[in-house]
Subunit: 388 residues, 2 copies
Amino acid sequence: MLGNFTYKNPTKLYFGKDALNGLYEELPKYGKNVLLVYGGGSIKKNGIYDKIVAILRASGKNIYEDGGVMPNPTTEKLKEGIERAKKANADFILAVGGGSVCDYAKAVSISVYCDEDPWDKYFLRFEEPTCKIIPVGCVLTMVGTGSEMNGGSVITNRSQHLKIGHVFGDEVFPKFSVLNPEFTYTLPKYQMTAGFFDIMSHILEQYFSGEDDNTSDYIMEGLMKSLIHSSLIAVKNPTDYEARSNIMWTATWALNTLVAKGKTTDWEVHMIGQAVGAYTDATHGMTLSAVSLAYYKHILSYGLAKFKRFAVNVWGVNPSGKSDEETALAGLAEMEKWMNAIGLVMNIRDLGVTDDMLDGIVKATLIMDGGYKVLTSDDVLSILKNSL
Amino acid sequence: MLGNFTYKNPTKLYFGKDALNGLYEELPKYGKNVLLVYGGGSIKKNGIYDKIVAILRASGKNIYEDGGVMPNPTTEKLKEGIERAKKANADFILAVGGGSVCDYAKAVSISVYCDEDPWDKYFLRFEEPTCKIIPVGCVLTMVGTGSEMNGGSVITNRSQHLKIGHVFGDEVFPKFSVLNPEFTYTLPKYQMTAGFFDIMSHILEQYFSGEDDNTSDYIMEGLMKSLIHSSLIAVKNPTDYEARSNIMWTATWALNTLVAKGKTTDWEVHMIGQAVGAYTDATHGMTLSAVSLAYYKHILSYGLAKFKRFAVNVWGVNPSGKSDEETALAGLAEMEKWMNAIGLVMNIRDLGVTDDMLDGIVKATLIMDGGYKVLTSDDVLSILKNSL
């Protein structure tokens, strides 16, 4: 049953091969001082940086730079970004990169005019911003997180071994995002496929929760089928525009709030994966792929009807002659085949997890209550051991 | 392949049993003079009118009324509404009803400050508004048109025998819409099921176009499966909240611009149905149901791959041992079974069409070019004869 909710998504999207031209329409809406935020510098190699700087200059902007945003943005980097934005007296933040860069830009945007420590306020206490927010726009160069059309931001505190995400309200959403599938072509295959599973995991986290019949479940089944279909094409031919554009669009709708409206959600895989990430600095999507099968097998009997539906509707498993559990397990087996086919990391040892880390990862794992089983520490330890 | 596009949907939705309370949040954003637009007066019988007037009064608004909006709003009524809005010096238009009422409110909103004849400007010449627009909010009491979250408006010119829809840009979208599934319970079954097919037709019009593989097609398959599932429950038990809420949500997403992004669309069934409606004043959804099967059988061979996909993915037709055409036809046969099961009008004679009207309906039918076959007048006549 669809519960009560409100829905509004204020982000404007420019999609396609000419999407960057949307900057000409958007930039005049904001002041002169633009903080240009980006990651390790790949955008300087593939020419995207030059194109964007040219448009910023043509639009009469003063450009201030904040590069070097890491895949798991840290509290230290956040402090640096806040200082850079203050020195620039930034009127606007333009994030160019993947979800990490966009997440980080949002965290900076709500912290510059905030007197409190942003880690404590936003990520430990999950408060909403009460200070002035600097508007943010995103140019996406990596697909997966959905950060281009939501209020999510994930920040890592290395000293506390914590990686925490907060989904903020719509005032924190990017004002606009530029989605050109061609900008994702040069991404290394490891990052590309990690992004594919990040998308899948976002859908699974929202799908595997609740016993009700919900339009969102049908939409999610459609998104998963599109992703499975296109990802198998993209790993063979990363410049297949049709596949990459459909994956980019699927990623946005997997996590721009729509499919969670009116239903419960889980997010326990992200909690375990983020704890693994806090210990290993591994690529986000791979931390999710490495623990997912162990997690879902662990909880399968508690949400059997939904796992059976997943097997039949998403993976085309024929349930005749099978017990519900056999059908459900056959669905996970099909998912495992797909995961291997696109080349995901399938265990946490390959991400650098060692046995002596396990207790710490268990302690760093937040426990959610929307899934089919509320995990105990022993459950988490068991899932981690089955993921090794 | 997803073509280039921009996406933004500014409408805020309040969904659920308490959705009407959203008015307390929204009304203070607008001026004091509110034009309350509604239809034949059913909202006075079921108590919704009293609830809304109480909230308007509590919010300190001056209430001006414009009731009697008919199912196919006419140019005469539009002129009346413009005069009422002018006399009220309306700051805000609150539409309470189904898609017709919401469509009409939008047409008034863009015409009050427009010097030209709105029929000529917006519906014959398809121009965008260039004058001041009065903001509109909708309280939905009937599901189907998606008008609550889009810029669409359909107006009928009785003297010209024309019923024309124009999908305006996002400045014409309602600022907010209130979606309480319980508000749809008292709708007569005929209107309810007509709305169900209107939803289905919106999806089919966007689905049956183009040869490409597109995430939108997968989303639409999910929406159709949800609709089929819930409609069969709702016709047996109209107060099944789960079914009615899922249908309401499906209707919104079937026509709030999302699933058409980056792909071609058809809309020929709506053109034929609207021509039938201009001659008979029949309920919109029933004009669509009465001509759809004849239309789709007529064009099936031109879009065979998609019709086969429709049969397999939406209706669960097993294609093994069948030719593509047999599979495709089996899908339409399944759709026909569902249409009969929910009690739709299956031919245009039952809507009051007589043989002497056919030539006029053919002439009043606009020809679109996004479907699998661009129709000739002979095609339209043949489809109408097969719909009798």
